[in-house]
Amino acid sequence: MTHPYIPNAEPGVRAEMLAAVGAESVEEFYADIPADLRLARPLNLPEPFVSEPDLVRHMEGLLAKNQRALSFLGHGAYAHYVPAVCDEVNTRSEFLTAYAGEPYEDHGRFQALFEYVSMMGELLEMDVVNVPTYDGFQAAGTAIRMACRYTGRNRVLVHSAISADLMSKLRDFLSHDIDIVTGAAGTEVEVDDSFAAIFVETPDVFGRVETRGRELADLAHAHGALLVVSTDPISLGVLAPPAAYGADIVCGDIQSLGMHPSYGGGHAGYIATHDHQPLVAEFPSRLFGIAPTKVPGEYGFGDVYYDRTSFAHREEGKEWVGTASALWGITAGVYLALMGPQGMKELGETVLARTRYAMDALGAHVTVLHGGDVHFREFAIEVPSARELLDGLRERDIFGGVALDDRTVLVCVTECHSIDDIDRLAAAVKEVLA
């Protein structure tokens, strides 16, 4: 049987094509592969499900083993609401299956990504935003490297409390040639002229919003260093964009802007700067810009400053560039266009209000950490046993949060949690702890 995915596996056409090229069999095409490297047996893989209904059944059987519950999980991936139009656009064959066409036959992709970076630019109040890199972790690593290359220094102060996972990524990506200095929260910030940057994450791992941005910027700048801020753009309808308090490079993850969590598959990273040539020169990612065409008034698109990239100059380019997360950039653009300024503002207000509501509701039963700080979306609680609490909630069909350590649980609240959901969590927490 000719496989539905392989038209030329049909014996008749196969013979015809072999004849056309003058080959006896496909073996001729493999003549360069030495006999001792040839696999002498069939691959030992499971029996396939060639018929689509059989495949669907197999997959549905596997997928049915996944479970859902009322979830307060966050800590790096967030279940914000994804408008249906986002999914409609990013499942269009034209976008889903395209790759790297020229700005003619793929004008739509260029324009959609240009619009994405432009909307991010408005949200961030910055003029240069990259075509997305893999995720917020990579964006943070690269943003720090950009600061190091720009300043010619190799030391960075990680000022905020960040997640162990992000720290793991930064160590892997940076530590062979960059010193990572960590500042304990609440302590005095100390930098000197050897530092390339102060790195701030806001909200931090505990959901706390950094309020000393301007101070940190001034401090960094006083020492010739940059302020690099990682922030989730979902908060920027209500929170000040880091550029407003002096950040030089802003980065983060856009998963919140219209991507489903997809068990970790929804991430994409952004990096933004002002339109300052020496800093722009340090971007490894592609940058798309408007260019004129033969017809006056027509908008063409193309790569800005392509010579920066490893596509152009291999190891002489900045880091590397390749397939990353373009479709999530397009999707985030759709999201921002749907939300508009008013939607982003209201979303921020709703998340702020519900986070505070949840802190108060849980605060009646457990200790809420950092209760005096401004929290966006996340906060931590201290309990006798994180494991026991989460197991107890699980029995009540609730994923109650993420254990940061044996006694600390991080709780996440978005606009998708109703007040009833939060009350249900609080009641369940009370019950489990009773």
């Binding site: 995915y5 056409v13 095409f29 691959l43 003029d127 309020t211 309808g237 997809s262 479709l327 709703t350």
Partner: protein, 491 residues
């Protein structure tokens, strides 16, 4: 469509989607963190946002719509629609759910890992990297950690070849290595004498693609590996071009210590305008303790997440681009071992057939010999010399006929290059049509070179003047920059 930039469609007061009311008291923000000016995002109603993006989508050319053999080395193959449904079925799963609530996903990871291990001959596979380049980086990170763990941290050179993907060189450099690049010999093969001269106590690894983007398999590949091993280096196989050798030959059998696959190439996940993709890093037993964490392991009939002993840590958040792992798994399960071999053989057949057709076009050539595996790098050098028309211009003109090719094939060792990789997804008629279009354009180039140079004529926009994009005073990487520089600030 003559679709404006989205900001031009904005009208005050409109919105595309409404947000739930807080239902709880508002929070007053301190001034230091409060946003003062509303962001100038577009204000549009929902049908208008949709219409805008649908029109843009129609101005884009995906695999599904065309004969997409021109993105050579990118392995544009059919991504079955049924698999999109499986991908969607995990959309709402949170990566921090308890392991017992995601047994289905973890089982798919575990099965996928063992299938890729069988396909490559490797012992363990990490599916964490978000792309092929990220997998290359992960492999380098493991190489670095391996040598460090063995007290060989002084090894500071990575050897690669000029026809290997730029990321092999660029990732190595980013990871702190000095990069040595081998050039091809007269047969188009990386030069083994040059390798012999390059290896030594500073050699950390060889990073090599095979077949390279020329489509020619390096028959001495085992010698390369052995040579690197002989000086204590590791051999790392970039298998971006694996589509023609599935079930034919395996990385580990040639002695490689590490390899990577691009699931969005060889294993059919969609290219998504350039990601998210998915990379798979395969390693030998000796490298397994260094894999990025976590990995999935079976334990008492359940699947759990575990950090390898000497893990390099996180390459990306969480376990990987899960929806693409699911798609790739389903694709392999629809084909099986025999099916994968048919994929490879058909990819090779299609490529050699297409080459046969292309080489009949006057002015087209393919350096270095005759048979290829799954792709071939061609040259319009002769045509270009005769007409002054460059390869890029021919590709753009071809787009007027509904097909295209991609011309960014640095370095230009092959002059006026174009690279075609027909994969197993195309029919003979498709290949005939593609070749006929190129033949037609080549003929146009002889008849009226200026006409071809002026292309496109049939696309959304006309020939673009790219010069401003390299000029800091003129470039406009966002609309706000464009408004400032070119519209005197009046958006």
């Amino acid at each position: 469509w003559d679709e404006p930039i989205i900001f031009e469609l904005s009208q005050p007061g409109r919105r595309g989607v409404a947000v739930p009311e807080p239902g709880a008291p508002a929070v007053e923000l301190p001034e230091s963190v409060r946003r003062e000016r509303a962001p100038k995002l577009p204000e549009m109603s929902q049908p208008h946002v949709l219409r805008h993006y649908l029109r843009l989508s129609q101005e884009n050319l995906g695999f599904d719509l065309n004969i997409d053999v021109g993105q050579g080395t990118c392995t544009m193959k059919y991504s079955p629609k049924v698999n999109d449904g499986f991908a969607k079925a995990i959309a709402d799963l949170h990566p921090r759910q308890p392991e017992d609530s995601v047994q289905g996903v973890l089982e798919i990871y575990a099965r996928m890992e063992s299938m890729l291990a069988e396909i490559s001959g490797m012992s363990r596979v990490s599916l964490q990297p978000g792309s092929g380049s990220a997998a290359i980086y992960a492999n380098i990170a493991m190489i670095r950690a391996y040598h460090a763990a063995n007290g060989e941290g002084h090894r500071d050179q990575v050897i690669t070849t000029i026809f290997s993907h730029p990321s092999n060189a660029a990732c190595a450099k980013t990871a702190g290595y000095e990069v040595i690049t081998l050039m091809p010999n007269a047969d188009g093969q990386p030069d083994i004498e040059a390798l012999r001269a390059a290896v030594g106590p500073r050699t950390a690894a060889l990073m090599i693609t095979n077949p390279e983007d020329t489509g020619i398999f390096n028959p001495r590949i085992k010698e390369f590996v052995d040579l690197v091993h002989s000086v204590g280096g590791l051999a790392c196989y970039d298998q971006a071009n694996a589509n023609g050798i599935l079930g034919i030959t395996r990385a580990r059998d040639a002695g490689f210590d590490l390899c990577h696959f691009n699931l969005h190439k060889t294993f059919s996940t969609p290219h998504m305008c350039g990601g998210p993709a998915a990379g798979a890093s395969g390693v030998s037993e000796a490298l397994a303790p260094f894999l990025p964490g976590p990995v999935v392991e079976a334990h008492d009939g359940r699947f759990i997440l575990k950090y390898p002993e000497k893990s390099v840590g996180k390459i990306r958040p969480f376990l990987g681009v899960t929806q693409n792992i699911v798609r790739a798994y389903a694709w392999i399960m629809a084909l099986g071992g025999d099916g994968l071999r048919t994929v490879a053989e058909t990819a090779a057949l299609n490529n050699n057939y297409l080459m046969h057709k292309i080489l009949q076009i006057p002015g087209a050539s393919a350096p270095w010999g005759r048979r290829r595996i799954e792709q071939a790098r061609y040259s319009w050098q002769q045509l270009s010399e005769e007409t002054g028309v460059h390869s890029e211009e021919i590709g753009v003109r071809a787009a007027d006929f509904g097909v295209h090719y991609w011309t960014s094939h640095h370095p230009y060792l092959v002059p006026e290059p174009f690279t075609l990789e027909p994969t197993e997804s195309y029919s003979k008629e498709d290949l005939d049509e593609y070749a006929a279009i190129l033949a037609h354009v080549a003929e146009e180039a002889r008849r009226d070179p200026e006409f071809v140079k002026g292309a496109p004529y049939n696309q959304t926009v006309h020939k673009i003047d790219m010069t401003s994009l390299d000029d800091p005073d003129q470039w406009a990487p966002t609309w706000r920059a464009y408004v400032r520089k070119h519209l005197s600030g009046k958006g």
